[in-house]
Amino acid sequence: MASRATLDSPVKQIQIEGLVVLKMIKHYQEEGQGTEVVQGVLLGLVVEDRLEITNCFPFPQHTEDDADFDEVQYQMEMMRSLRHVNIDHLHVGWYQSTYYGSFVSRALLDSQFSYQHAIEESVVLIYDPIKTAQGSLSLKAYRLTPKLMEICKEKDFSAEGLKKAMIGFEHMFEEVPIVIKNSHLINVLMWELEEKSTVADKHELLNLSSSNHLEKSLQLLMDRVDDMSQDIVKYNTYSRNLSKQQQQKHQYTQRRQQENAQRQTRGEPPLPEEDISKMFKPPQPPPRMDTLLIAGQINNYCQNVKEFTSQNLGKLFLAEALQGHNS
């Protein structure tokens, strides 16, 4: 899913301000409960090989009674207003929340492609609120690999196209490392907050109960694997149909030749060669892009599950040490 070794893209690192992180968290907390995703726009600028994200603003949810709602207009207005107060108004990407790590979808691909096409350095930030609630901020930045960009540009999603470009599910997105930077004033604020606020540390990270989260993740994984197997079945039927058709074509031409030979011996004019391709229409090859997306998603789920289990193993051993001490 993420290939970190070969980052030959213009952006090598993402620098986010604390303010952006807080805004994203707040947006999800207030507006997005359940499986809905919340989205927003990232603003900032590009400095050498770093992408600095200095501010963001949320996008309203799409509701049915917003027929006359113009997204573009909202965005334009927002950016114009922000320019008045000296906030960077350059669009550098967008963010999205995710439910248990399921974000590899056609919609995401399309949006990221249009962004990256317009602005070369743009990224999509994926914020996982459920993982964050378990104790540690989960924020990842992704871009499309140049290979995938090529494919999207030509809109050639067939099997041959993908084969030509040699794209596996691991080369679809590349992850960019994130660094959080705070200005000194904000650092002062952090010190003040620590002093003033009496919110106790809740230590969710050391929570031992894992089965709920694990169950949900595994269920999503199973759904995806089901999708994948359906896809595979479709592909198999297609290749079987194709080979059957080839056989039929072959038989037909042979029969034709035989008949022609017979007619020649009998002295009759040979039958006209009919256009074979018109008679046997080749079956439609199934689209391969979905398979790729599903594979990528499955990979992502597996990664998340593995991370989760490694954390839990550590916690279990901690608990064992504690018990061992007492008994």
Partner: protein, 273 residues
């Protein structure tokens, strides 16, 4: 501080926003002002969002771009329809006469608006985040003045916000004020070391009490009892079985995940490439 009026609960995102707009203020402006958005309760006002409003201030007059404020509020309402204008903020240490005028404007927008000040110039070495509400004063019949009475300020966090803030706290120790996001096992290690630190503090306290350096406090003693009793007493075998079954579950899941990954890689090789 006298507490008259509602308690003000602020989210950290608001303070970070104010700090950020202070850093980006125009040349020559000594302070920035802006609108506070949030929700009003019976006894408290919760401030969850804010945006800055351009304004010009000179010795005798002050001009606030009200159109802008209205526009921004409309835009923000599209995203979070439940937020209303609850007041306004200004950076700076004192309340000036201009503040009174601005406050009047905001009283038209919201009932009983809150005025928040945050000293970003650190005049007294601290940030001094304070909230006020206006109350009329004066002799009835003559010119009525306005007095700003202070309110008590509390900080409210959502759970996820708290975790985010914790991460941000780490940047204040780093030399170039930046920090990366850590990976799974490191985080468990860090959380464990935090608990370890806390236990160390408690232990030093206990030792002091035992050696007579500090007087014993009964309530603390009761907390300690609770703490020790919270570690569940399970027989060694039961615990072993529980531990092993859990470990087995996790290992199995890891194995399955690896298997799935291998499968899709294979599938890819066969079908696509």
């Amino acid at each position: 501080m006298s507490v008259y009026g509602p308690v003000v609960k602020i989210h950290p995102v608001v303070l970070a926003s104010i700090g950020d707009s202070y850093e980006r203020r125009n040349e020559g402006a000594s302070r920035v002002i802006g609108t506070l958005l949030g929700t009003v309760d019976k006894h408290s006002v919760e401030v969850t969002n804010c945006f800055s409003v351009p304004h010009n201030e000179s010795e005798d007059e002050v001009a606030v771009d009200m159109e802008f404020a209205k526009n921004m509020y409309e835009l923000h309402k599209r995203v979070s329809p439940s937020e209303v204008i609850v007041g306004w903020y200004a950076t700076g240490f004192e309340i000036t006469e201009h503040s009174v005028l601005i406050h009047e404007y905001y009283s038209r927008e919201a009932t009983n608006p809150i005025h928040l000040t945050m000293d970003c110039a650190l005049q007294s070495g601290k940030m001094n985040i304070r909230a006020y509400v206006s109350a009329p004063m004066g002799v009835p019949g003559k010119t009525v003045g306005v007095m700003f009475t202070p309110l008590s300020v509390k900080y409210k966090y959502y759970d996820t916000e708290r975790i985010g803030v914790e991460l941000l706290q780490r940047t204040r120790d780093a030399p170039n004020a930046s920090s990366g996001l850590t990976s799974d096992l490191c985080q468990v290690g860090k959380a464990a070391s935090r608990v370890q630190d806390m236990l160390a503090t408690v232990l030093t306290y206990i030792e002091d009490v035992l050696s007579g350096k500090q007087g014993a406090d009964n309530s603390v003693g009761r907390y300690l009892m609770d703490l020790v009793n919270k570690v569940p007493k399970i027989s060694a075998e039961d615990f072993e079985t529980m531990l092993n079954s859990n470990i087995n579950d996790l290992l199995m899941v890891t194995y399955l995940a690896n298997l799935t990954q291998a499968q899709i890689a294979l599938n890819e090789k066969i079908v696509v490439l």
